[in-house]
């Protein structure tokens, strides 16, 4: 796990076991949590040992491709799966072996799993009734919650009489009305069409601010994670590849996987010809160079480095630019007009294909077409070594 979160020093990565000076107990703490499934004599490892401290009140996303272990991790927090190893803590309390009905977290299921035989009101009241909350309080709390999710007046409808977005909000209200320590959302917007999904993203953020409950959000949609989260854990193959705020994850991908999974990324490689003042230079030709800053480890001459550059950080230029900047020469192989921006694929002299996004602003230069010779330039601060 690589924690690139600059403001994370106050939270020990290993959970509540850390020193006691700031007594910030995470809302959810995972300590070396692993899960193996056994079927037909084969052992499948879904989660390979995760340490995680989710802070109270934050919007936390677990992002990764299907099969990366994010849903299993969430089901272990909810109590539907028992970890093979490790500890799950809620507000510092060990709940590893507690069943779901004994945990103060609630879940919004992928396909909502509303009770089809109950009205909207009864669906939302279900948890309160199980906790033996007095009748008049149930009526009041359900009413308030339905107002927050904008479903007042639909109390007596059945789930199947509602649209997808409305069902989604019933599922949300049904979980939130219990004021859980954390709300777990398992790809909750997956079944909605794009427009509704975008509206619900904004809506979810608003509701989270309004109720102030910790949200743990599982998704494979990087845009969703980037727009909504306070922090993101990018997962792959049962481990957390990178943990940090969206900006860090996007701008400083720590591994090749993160760089490839989040947004479009250009992967470049070469050996360092010179190292001066914490900067390494890959000499491609007398005019062409890639400059890399030292990351976590020192740079040495002759070292093979891999680095990523985001397409929107690169500019198409007529010449190699100043000596302190990165510059590569190449031939445009593809031009795709995307509305607000244009995407250029450029085959560079290093052999790598590089994608460049350019805003279609009013001051845009003369158009570049297929087959044109261009220079790619970017500031060295946008070259991120990965490893």
């Amino acid at each position: 796990m690589t924690d690139t979160d600059a403001s994370a020093q106050d939270v020990p990565a290993a959970g509540p076991a850390g020193p006691a000076d700031p007594p910030t107990v995470p809302a959810i703490g995972l300590d070396g949590v692993a899960k193996e499934f056994h079927s037909r004599g084969e052992t499948v490892t879904a989660v390979r040992g995760i340490d995680l401290a989710i802070r109270t009140g934050e919007f936390f996303s677990m992002l990764g491709p299907s099969g990366c272990g994010k849903t299993t991790t969430m089901r272990m927090i909810a109590g539907f799966e028992e970890p093979t190893r490790g500890t799950v803590r809620l507000d510092g309390r060990d709940v590893t072996a507690a069943p779901p009905n004994k945990r103060d977290v609630n879940m919004v299921f992928q396909s909502y799993a509303l009770f089809p035989h109950m009205s909207v009101f009864e669906n939302v009241a279900f948890g309160l009734r199980r906790k033996s909350v007095p009748r008049d309080q149930i009526t009041r709390q359900v009413g308030e919650m339905l107002e927050i999710v904008d479903l007042t007046g639909r109390e007596q409808r059945r789930p199947r009489e509602l649209s997808g977005g409305q069902q989604q909000r019933v599922a949300l209200a049904r979980a939130l009305v219990n004021h859980p320590k954390a709300l777990l959302l398992d790809e909750p917007l997956g079944a909605l069409d794009l427009k509704l999904r975008q509206a619900m993203q904004v809506e979810l953020k608003r509701i989270q601010r309004e109720v102030g409950i910790t949200f743990v959000y599982v998704t494979h949609d990087q845009n969703e994670a980037l727009t909504m989260s306070d922090r993101i854990a990018v997962m792959n193959d049962g481990v957390i590849e990178q943990l940090g705020p969206p900006r860090d994850i996007y701008e400083h991908p720590a591994t090749r996987f993160v760089a490839g999974f989040i947004g479009t990324s250009n992967l470049l490689a070469g050996s360092l010809a010179r190292v001066t003042g914490g900067q390494g230079v890959i000499e491609v030709s007398p005019d062409e160079r890639i400059i890399v800053r030292a990351g976590r480890s020192e740079l040495t001459v002759g070292q093979e480095v891999e680095l990523t550059v985001r397409p929107e950080k690169i500019e198409l230029a007529a010449g190699p630019g100043p000596a302190g900047g990165c510059a590569l020469r190449g031939t445009v192989t593809e031009v795709v007009y995307l509305g607000t921006s244009t995407s250029f694929s450029v085959h560079t002299t290093t052999g790598a294909d590089v994608v460049v996004f350019q805003q279609n602003s009013a001051s845009a230069d003369t158009p570049v077409g297929r087959g044109d010779e261009v220079w790619l330039t970017w500031d060295p601060q946008h070259s991120y070594p990965i490893g």
Partner: protein, 304 residues
């Protein structure tokens, strides 16, 4: 959804579409023809014949019947055989309840835990029913006989008194009915439970329900359509059954099915038999509609 209705088929497209041919328009009717004929010839016609027979007077010697609109047959038959009607409802009801209690765990287990072997388990449930109805019931007579493999063994071990018997009692009839109609209960229940989204169970546990509450508040209400279908498919045929009573019930505990069978085949009292059949049909229909009003109609439409 509050979406503007888009004109999917602008006028021009509709106009250019070829006129539907006559065959196409008739297709639904043609397709329903076999089922319609079946119902007409094998259900509606016999039903009308039966109802009209109950109002005719028959010559027991020649079997010739004349329509006399003699309604007295109904009152007479009812006063003669009301006890057998009550016995039938009692036995069929007991067998149905027994079947529902036995089938529910089976159907639930196959639907929720059968995994990839669901079809195999369903087949196992049906295997005994590849053997003829009569043979199966006769085998039950053999199993339950006073000195048979169960009672005989228990008696030899002095666990039961020598004069203990099951055959020729109501228990034997109910057991036989319950055994013979079990698949009619288990299969519709299975279909209903299988259709339940397994995640609602997770949702119930997540919302603090205990296992018991999850079952009573979620699984059971969602199984109601299946329970209703299972009840109908078991209770109605069991009500008119006469074979179990004749083979396992001895001479007492006569069910109405036996009375009707005797009326037609032994006494050649067609009018009386028809009247009894009509009454049985009417009672069953009234009972089912009342039950559906009470429990079925509203809930069933909710799940579809």
């Amino acid at each position: 959804m509050e979406q503007p209705v888009l004109a999917d088929h602008p006028g021009g497209v509709t106009a250019r579409r070829p006129r539907p041919r006559l065959g196409k328009a008739l297709a639904p009717y043609l397709l329903s023809l076999p089922a319609g004929l079946w119902l007409l010839v094998l259900f509606l016609v016999p039903l009308v014949v039966m109802l009209s027979l109950s109002l005719q007077s028959c010559n027991t010697a020649t079997g010739a019947c004349v329509m006399t609109w003699h309604w007295g047959e109904f009152g007479q038959q009812l006063s003669l055989y009301h006890a057998q009607f009550i016995t039938s409802f009692y036995f069929a009801g007991a067998a149905t309840i027994l079947d529902l209690i036995v089938s529910f765990p089976i159907a639930y287990w196959i639907a929720f835990h059968g995994g990839s072997k669901k079809n195999f388990f369903l087949l196992m449930l049906l295997v005994p029913f590849f053997v003829s109805f009569v043979i199966r019931t006769v085998v039950w007579e053999f199993i339950l006989s006073d000195q048979g493999i169960i009672l005989g063994t228990l008696k030899n071990a002095h666990l039961l008194p020598q004069n203990f018997h099951v055959l020729a009692t109501g228990y034997a009839v109910v057991a036989g009915l319950a055994y013979n109609y079990l698949p009619f209960t288990a299969l519709p229940l299975y279909v209903a439970i299988e259709r339940i989204d397994k995640r609602v169970l997770d949702a119930a546990y997540d919302l603090y329900a205990t296992r018991r509450q999850a079952f009573l508040r979620v699984i059971l209400p969602l199984s109601v359509p299946g329970l209703f279908a299972a009840f109908l498919l078991t209770f109605v045929p069991a009500l008119g059954d006469y074979l179990n009573q004749q083979i396992l019930g001895g001479t007492s505990n006569t069910m109405i099915g036996t009375v009707i069978q005797n009326a037609f085949l032994v006494n050649l009292d067609y009018a009386g038999g028809s009247a009894l059949s009509a009454v049985l049909l009417a009672i069953a229909l009234v009972g089912i509609f009342a039950y559906a009003r009470l429990l079925g109609s509203r809930t069933i439409e909710d799940y579809i």
